[in-house]
Symmetry: C2
Subunit: 470 residues, 2 copies
């Protein structure tokens, strides 16, 4: 309630101020722009982001929220911030319910007995140790399941085979992910005993993609798993014979107790306006199957390293706050806790961006709907176009962990990475360090160093109280 009132008032204030201050509020002086090129070139030579990423994946590895790996990651994050030389390092609690994976096996029982490679979707209940069996009913899309008659689905195992396409911007994810996030509820409403989906992923390896799924009050909970892409292809080929296909599924996944993890925060203090902060970061948790190199070790490493690169040079006016967000994967728990804890200081949050789309090169910078961000974007692009960065669109999401702060009216930028290969690895055992191109990481580091210096240094701000619903 308070927040809403604040947003309305701020929107009014900034509307009044907007036009007269538009130049001063949004752009750097010539010396600063020149300095951005120095920062860019320095970062392009630095392997600091790779070193941090190697450290996180090697010394911590899998760090699913609520596990021992999570606790080790929190300790690692604090130690790494200190080792690198951040001015302030602290943690803020984030409490959520644990989820345990357990055993996960599946096999075709008839007509062609074969093992299948599956993984339980995050949050799924188990089948019990005895497992369950059922005839498969196949839908090509989530929409087809929605249209199905309950009589056809009742007592069966739903299989959705929708295949995600590769895109640079990840736009195919939103459509494909419905079968993962909403499939179990839709299938259960029609009486299904379980659901297996084709992995939400673009690879062709026997490494299924996990990821969070949801239940709904009043709808019975059924087990939900993902097949690897080759296993989904196999199941389709079996079904094409026209004979009933019977699956066996055993999953001992189960919910755990309440757990408190932490957002791990490090600051490089601003020289003139230390209370005004630029929020950057990546999420510290990963899924459990891989070592979380691209999701989101890369984001953690790039943003920690960028703040350090900036700190090694001229100190910008504002404070750079790097937040390693807790438990993004299971519902933005760290991001929500942060927004709740800091809502009364929201006006001190000048702007922000998250790196959470892998380790591909950045090709554009987007901004949120305030036109106060455009002048600095033009200056950034003038420095970064030589390394492949173009001016994007007024479509910034800021990254998942900034959604709660956007909800409080904070502006965001999006440093958009090439995600063509991201969904080959996303949420799989294959998300490991070898998949990261060190040269791409340097490009990311250069863009982030330039970006964060610029927005920490610029006179004026980017507006607040933005209505993202427009």
């Amino acid at each position: 309630m308070k927040i809403t009132e604040l947003k309305v008032r701020l929107a009014f204030v900034f509307t009044l101020m907007g036009s007269s201050l538009s130049f001063a509020a949004g752009s750097l002086n010539d010396d600063d722009v020149k300095y951005l090129s120095e920062l860019r070139d320095k970062a392009l030579k630095s392997d600091l982001a790779y070193q941090i990423l190697e450290s996180l994946t090697t010394e911590v590895g899998p760090r699913m929220a609520g596990t021992e790996g999570d606790a080790r990651a929190v300790a690692w994050g604090q130690a790494k911030f200190k080792e690198i030389g951040f001015d302030k390092v602290w943690i803020e609690p984030v409490t959520f319910k644990q989820w345990h994976r357990g055993v996960e096996t599946a096999q075709v029982l008839a007509p062609f007995p074969q093992p299948l490679v599956i993984t339980a979707l995050g949050n799924s209940i188990g089948t019990g140790e005895q497992g369950l069996k059922g005839e498969v009913i196949h839908f090509k899309t989530f929409a087809d399941l929605q249209k199905a008659e309950a009589g056809d689905v009742n007592g069966k195992i739903v299989f959705i085979s929708h295949k995600m396409e590769k895109t640079r911007d990840g736009s195919s994810y939103g459509q494909a992910v419905a079968s993962r996030s909403r499939g179990a509820v839709e299938a259960a409403k029609k009486g299904a005993k379980a659901i297996v989906i084709r992995s939400i992923g673009t690879d062709s390896h026997r490494v299924p993609h996990t990821g969070n799924m949801n239940y709904q009050d009043g709808v019975s909970k059924i087990p939900a798993a993902a097949l690897s892409n080759p296993d989904a292809d196999l199941l389709i080929n079996m079904l094409s014979r026209g004979k009933p296909v019977e699956l066996g599924l055993t999953m001992t996944s189960n919910p755990g107790g309440e757990y408190t993890s932490y957002n791990v925060i490090g600051e490089i203090e601003g020289s003139e306006k230390p209370d005004e902060v630029i929020v950057i970061g990546g999420h510290l948790d990963s899924w459990d199957l891989g070592t979380g190199a691209v999701d989101d070790g890369a984001g953690v490493a790039i943003t920690m390293a960028a703040a350090k690169i900036v700190a090694q040079g001229k100190r910008p006016k504002r404070t750079i706050r790097v937040v390693l967000w807790a438990n993004e994967e299971q519902g933005l728990h760290g991001a929500k806790a942060y927004a709740l804890a800091h809502k009364n200081n929201i006006l001190n949050h000048i702007t922000g961006a998250e790196s959470d789309f892998g380790a591909g090169p950045i090709w554009a910078i987007d901004w949120s709907s305030t036109n106060k961000q455009e002048p600095i974007i033009d200056q950034l692009v003038s420095v970064l176009n030589s390394i492949g960065v173009a001016k994007g669109k007024a479509k910034s999401t800021g990254g998942p962990d900034l959604w709660p702060l956007r909800g409080l009216g904070m502006s965001t930028f999006s440093l958009r990475q090439d995600g063509s290969d991201y969904f080959d690895l996303h949420h799989t055992a294959d998300d490991t360090l070898d998949k990261v191109n060190p040269e791409h990481l340097k490009q990311n580091l250069a863009v982030w160093s330039v970006f964060v210096y610029a927005v920490a240094q610029v006179e004026g701000d980017f507006g607040h109280g933005i209505d993202y619903s427009k």
Copy 2:
């Protein structure tokens, strides 16, 4: 003994006959050569090989020797030969010891606890259900292990990190595979309690490569496993910190009892010399992790389909015998049983070739050391160079399952496939149908159809009693 005498006598006979019959003995007439082009073009339009491969991988899938999948594959092979319309179909027994895989898990226990993805090497003993623990000692190559002092290795877990390089002809395999086949013996001689090797494979996925390993009488048996390539990279990064790295390893693999499988054989009878046979085929068994699409479903499918393509047209003079070899993977058991059963008819085996290097396009044809094979090679290449096939070298191995027949003096050809990607998949869970390019399979089918018609039709033979030791 008998065989050796036979070889000596035959070598003498053929040396006498060789020169005067060299043209008639080795080449086709113009009509036949013209017909080869028709066969090529017909095969290039056929998806029969893909259909057979889809059937084998879908309806049988994993078929490790001695498993239920093996028995299903034998039934499938007989049924498929009959369905396709082979003139004769039969099975010949092949007896060997089973090996069971069981559970296989590994983890770094210290200093950075993380799970590792491993697979037991074929034939390895287990660790017992309680598992074992030990400090890792790292060798970059098998040769380094050979040079090591027993005192340094004693009581530890040996890790060999040699990385196999990609090559078109697979020549890097021979060098890399020593750590798999001989590593356990060498490590055990120096007192190691287990060995883990980097997978003998060229991919970067969390799918470790299994494959057979050997023990040696008088040397204690220790468990042997392969790490996926990303896991081997991770272990190296951990070791680079200079602290002791402790591994935990649990494998319940164990030897089984005696099992009888079968070579499955189908014939297209020759029109004039039905007792003279051309032996082609692939091996029917696979490892258990994948569905054996490229190893060696492709070879099975290509050679079955090629015989069928030939049978649909003009019937060649000699019989085409397609042998689906039993248990190649665990020691050429089917090939050895066949050679033993047919050794007294070895002179009726005019020549042979196996397809067992995946599903990449064929780029050359090799021959064995008799120059009687060269005239037909020149004719084959004149028909096949338009689809990428060149004249190879006098270096034919014939394929693993023809080694015992080579040992009896039979000539061989090698239709050499591009294996650049073969070791990405070889012996992994990733060996699945989606990895096979249907167009490459058509090219293979065209080459094999032309080849097998030509050698079944040609006047004279290719010599016998070849001394492969030269």
